[in-house]
Symmetry: C2
Amino acid sequence: MSLGAEDRIHQWLRQKLRRQGFHSVGDDGAILPAGGPWAVTQDQQIEGVHFPARTDPALIARRLLAVNLSDLAAMGAEPAFAFLALSCPPDFDIRRLLSSFLVACSRYDVELAGGDLSQNDRVTSSVTLLGTRFSGGRWLKRSHGEPGDSLWIAGDLGLSAIGRRLVEIGACHSGRRVQLPAAPHLTVREETLARKAVRRHLIPQPQLAASRWLALRRRAAAIDVSDGLSLDLHRLCRESVVGAQIDESCLSTEANFQQLCLKLQLQPLATILAGGEDYALLFSLPPRVRPPAMLGCRKIGRLDAAPDVWLISKGKSLPLPARGWDHFDSATVAS
Amino acid sequence: MSLGAEDRIHQWLRQKLRRQGFHSVGDDGAILPAGGPWAVTQDQQIEGVHFPARTDPALIARRLLAVNLSDLAAMGAEPAFAFLALSCPPDFDIRRLLSSFLVACSRYDVELAGGDLSQNDRVTSSVTLLGTRFSGGRWLKRSHGEPGDSLWIAGDLGLSAIGRRLVEIGACHSGRRVQLPAAPHLTVREETLARKAVRRHLIPQPQLAASRWLALRRRAAAIDVSDGLSLDLHRLCRESVVGAQIDESCLSTEANFQQLCLKLQLQPLATILAGGEDYALLFSLPPRVRPPAMLGCRKIGRLDAAPDVWLISKGKSLPLPARGWDHFDSATVAS
């Protein structure tokens, strides 16, 4: 990017930020007030890896913040400051991305406190997000699980993977509307679910309400499900030095999920277990503790003392491998 | 990157970090202790933009930390925590980059506290660096300049641009040796300067000692010279609402600088004023305050009440435009 252009974007952004009471304007870095302790997360969104080429910059912005908020949610942290590193081709609409990022930030009470712009072939973005502990709360750790704990999920599993497939075959999201591809033919109910899936894929919903509730418990383990339930469950088990079993029948509650998967040539169970990019919150709680119904969490299994991870499917226990979508041996979990 | 590969790299990195007493291991983010206030900087290094393709990953790592340290130096901050977002092609040697980054971090007492790995066509890296105020110190701001202040520079101007040109025509840095291209023919003294220039370009030297001294002054303005002295001086002037004049004869003290520039078909003065990537520290001080000689700073001019920026060249005042290398009108500053 030419220096003149970069300076002009900085000037334009600073005017916007000044109105919001920006902490540090016009220096080589931002000054954040004393505070903390801080939870810090960093997550990238890259064209062709995390979103398709020619995605609306407004969607990239919302997704970029959402995936980082999802990481903070898994820490039990209250989001506070964001730093955005963006590199992109010269014809990319940077201002549209930044405007949308600021709108998304204000929705979550996050302050964009700094960043860096440069040029690149592909749109490559990275956010560093700082959050504080909720007042009276504890950090959530992957390692806080104990044998006998119940396993819960907040958010949808597999829906994002369905959305990704739909986007691959032509679905798009413009303005607030989702346009579905002409084929395959879907029933009205499948169409409703398909639209929800595309939205969920493009704009994940960070589980901040569940996170806040969990942070105020005496003990809870949590992990952001971004690489698929199977792999992320193994990670939680490894840190807590436990095993787990999860019940296939509890994993998805969406009507029409199976039918929609099959029409899109997706294996339903593999989509749920290893679809990835769910940005759901997987957590464990002592057995008698239940999240309030309004949080919409589902109990999906429990932690065990033995280190193995099992899927209970139609009364049979099947070993659940620690694999993401690409490496999934569908035979292992064929329904 | 396949998930398995990413997990293996995380595991390998965590073993290294555990030995260093890493703050947060195995969660969706890092926990930093309460403290601050914090200065936070974020800077990217991208293949083909900031360094050539096939640059040794160890050099990329050192450069990546150095450019961020240089930003913190301009804030008067003591570096503390780094977060590294890296995306790269599958055949890139991530472990070599990470190992070198950790070595560089430990040299500056920086803790690598988190990050994110993904795939990309080009090696794209971004660091977010947090620093604290030096004990008893103040933040350095671009806006702290006043008319009558002297203008100083710590670090070299133009040398990095010479190094960049040498790398473009075939110079390389392997192990600790710099190999120069066969043409143009250089004298032994020019060769020595050329090697220094290649090193300075590939591994900038953050001006932390000068920064620490400045942070303990009653008043000092400072800016990181990364886009060329001319443009960055204009930025400092804009924030301090002052003008400036700088003296051409004080800008470079390197013997053989002119000759080496000319052999490389670089215009010497434009190289100094707008070569870019100097990562020097430009600062202003009240007129009677002088940095200690051991810091090797040079006085290059002064700040004025009138808002214009001038170059004093052979007794004549020439207007100095706010332009980086690419946009520089060499006629304006022809010597």
